[in-house]
Assembly symmetry: C3
Homo-oligomer: 363 residues x 3
Amino acid sequence: MPFTIAEIAQSLGVPFEGDGSLTVFSVAEPASASADQLALAMRPDFAEGLTQGAARAAMLWQDADWQGFGLSAAILAPRPRYTMSALSEMMDPGQGYGAGIHPSAVVDPSAKLGIDVSVGALAVIGPDAVIGDGSVIGPQVQIGWQARIGANALLHAGVRIAARVTIGERFVGQPGACIGSDGFSFVTPEKSGVEKARASLGEEGNTASQSWARIHSLGSVTIGNDVEIGANSCIDRGTVRDTYIGNGCKLDNLVHVGHNVMVGEDCLLCAQVGIAGSTVIGQNVVLGGQAGVSDNLVIGDRAIIGGGSGVLSNVPAGRVMLGYPAVKMDSHVESYKGLRRLPRLFRDVADLKKAVSKLTGND
Amino acid sequence: MPFTIAEIAQSLGVPFEGDGSLTVFSVAEPASASADQLALAMRPDFAEGLTQGAARAAMLWQDADWQGFGLSAAILAPRPRYTMSALSEMMDPGQGYGAGIHPSAVVDPSAKLGIDVSVGALAVIGPDAVIGDGSVIGPQVQIGWQARIGANALLHAGVRIAARVTIGERFVGQPGACIGSDGFSFVTPEKSGVEKARASLGEEGNTASQSWARIHSLGSVTIGNDVEIGANSCIDRGTVRDTYIGNGCKLDNLVHVGHNVMVGEDCLLCAQVGIAGSTVIGQNVVLGGQAGVSDNLVIGDRAIIGGGSGVLSNVPAGRVMLGYPAVKMDSHVESYKGLRRLPRLFRDVADLKKAVSKLTGND
Amino acid sequence: MPFTIAEIAQSLGVPFEGDGSLTVFSVAEPASASADQLALAMRPDFAEGLTQGAARAAMLWQDADWQGFGLSAAILAPRPRYTMSALSEMMDPGQGYGAGIHPSAVVDPSAKLGIDVSVGALAVIGPDAVIGDGSVIGPQVQIGWQARIGANALLHAGVRIAARVTIGERFVGQPGACIGSDGFSFVTPEKSGVEKARASLGEEGNTASQSWARIHSLGSVTIGNDVEIGANSCIDRGTVRDTYIGNGCKLDNLVHVGHNVMVGEDCLLCAQVGIAGSTVIGQNVVLGGQAGVSDNLVIGDRAIIGGGSGVLSNVPAGRVMLGYPAVKMDSHVESYKGLRRLPRLFRDVADLKKAVSKLTGND
């Protein structure tokens, strides 16, 4: 896809300097860029590579001395990382899924496909499913009975949408994402060892064997607009009502969202995050990679949970949390520093005991 | 599916009061229930919503004042959460997978399918596979060479059962579950850095580069009756004998079970649990979400491992464990409280040092 | 597959003793071996089972008294675990995927398949994909536009290789592995709460709501020779250049490798490991199960990160790390011991305070 520097700058709404008619076909890192690529050097330390590569044009930060790097043209972005969003959209060649309904796809006659929907090879679309205009259904995708997907969705290969799931507009599903698996909800005829251990804070579990009866998930999953779900991530359906993911949420790979969970708008759930059943997550919450949140908790708006942390209690709005169990970040850092200095503390106390023992004459 | 209150109560084996002829079509939470839904309010704090919703009937706890909530009928369950199991089974509309063998499925002529087996669109059933009566094989499922699955299985979309896996009756596989991937077993010609670090408890690793030779997994996986495996979970095959999952075990989403692992009956493995190779798990063990168990360990019957914990040593029967490395829950709580109070302890010791220094005159 | 003991020993390059003409068909653990199986007892404690089983031949350690176990023949391996690699390869019956291109597979006419490539039922091979000689493409695999896979690959059922991914020779992909999902890269118009919290080490997050703009992944994934990727693992594509996995790396199940990550040669990434974006991993690094590495870090060659550890800072070469945040293993062990002894320390300090208080007369 050839673009002139002037076209790119105009499309991104940022200024350019130099030869706006210069044409580029793709983007590259500075050191490996060829003459017809746009080098990306969004911070001064990245710009060093420009002299090693052959780029004639680059996207740089706002006040960059582009001529000093020997360039013929430069796009100068006030917040280059943000501008990268629109630039990368322009330059993305995509996955090359074909247009139209592939003849090998199995589309139930009762499914309703909008205008310009494409369906890839060997996809399965179930009875009464509804797919909005302009959606791209990749190869080997499965969409269940009565599932509803809004306009302009992009479902990559092997995404699975179970029965009665409802998804808003502009949804992106990475390969193997699974929306609408059954909740993990089992019950014993009598109180289980877990119920007892929770009630007693750790008293030993049961002595008798117990087997588990299944609670079926009668709810489904509702997902808002502009949501992305990562590769091989799983969103379980609710027990009675739907599990809910709000508008603008982005979930990374291998994330687990349990039954009945409610996630507010614009949350980021990084890779391998797990949220146990019935927990409520506020708006604009960020969960770092591998963070876990226990069941039936409330996480306030704009909370940030550090990667690898385990949240075992409610979190107030705006709080930055770290550790296991997760605590306020500065408390964690203080405890952690103390932990590192413990060996010295043990020596100090041993010395004090000797000194005091001498003073009291109890030797 | 219309049911009268009397029918439901009879089927569940619990009493009802009021108008048993009242008909409901599905279940709902109290506040959002319509007049033809059965509201579920299994604890007093859930019942408040009844006045906001339009339900005329509800399932409540044993001695609930159902008339006080303005209902016409009520099902009164002694342990409502347990009764929910049978109720949810009655009310589950399912995934709508069709009956019979879908013409797009690829079923090897040597595969043996029992009576009333259904096979979904684009499923693949390999040579000499055996599938028990009444099993439902969802769309895009893959069942390998000589795999054997018992009666009344439900394999959701995209489940993969590898060659020679043996599964008992009433198995449930959530979408994307993978049974029988190869074990992660690699060996170096000379002792590896890991072997050395384990032997020396942390002495630095190797200085020479090493590459890894693959040990093939000649065993497979054997799974008992009444087992459920969650979405995108993986059970590796054994090296020489089969990896084993006992009767009644329930595994949540994104769980990893390594090669040669043996899991006893009726265990719960919550989401994102990982069990490393050759570990033996007893009966009725519960592993909380994201818990990990190291290789070659023994976890006793009825042990409960808290979510996010990392088990690095054997666990006796009935023990409740928490933390990393996991220890007895009350030890963890005590250590953790100490950690929180460490800053004060450092101040106390500093004060003591000053006081003692004054006393001894060493200032 | 029948083999004589002499054939096996010759093929493995290790000596045998006794009746080399004895024939075995498969391998077994000592206690369950039948008369025509080769028992594997690679350590003295495993050999006890030989008397319970019916094996007439076994693979044992170098100086084993095989006649004392009542055997007719024995293969004596200097490093039996290493010899197991070649033996298991000989004895592996495989998954039974058929030869040739299955008629139900959807192979784009522009795809280039090498000599002796087999393609399983319902696989999809996209336009301009290139697959090397002797590769086995399992059922329901998907290979994207312009993806290139080297010779002798083995892609198990449901592997997904996205567009423009490049993979070397002898690649093994376990079921459901996903190579080339989009990176998790989102940006806010203004500085995000995470950026602020990182800059301030934990100052509270934003007060205003923010939504996320997507940065498309214009790079792809490059994978070297002799790499194995586990079941349902995910490797994200890079933002501008490719994410990179070096020769000889082995990744277990449910592993996440973020965008732009570079992994050096011969690394082991155990199950459920997560590596965040742009981190660089050296050669021969071992990451234990569930370990996590934060973004933009450098992990030195031959480092070993214990299972469940969370790496939040750079790691020098050869270092053995444990804990959260991960520290040198012996520091972690020392801190941990201190933590366990904390309750006693609190008592000691309380006693000292009393004693000092008496001495100073401030009671």
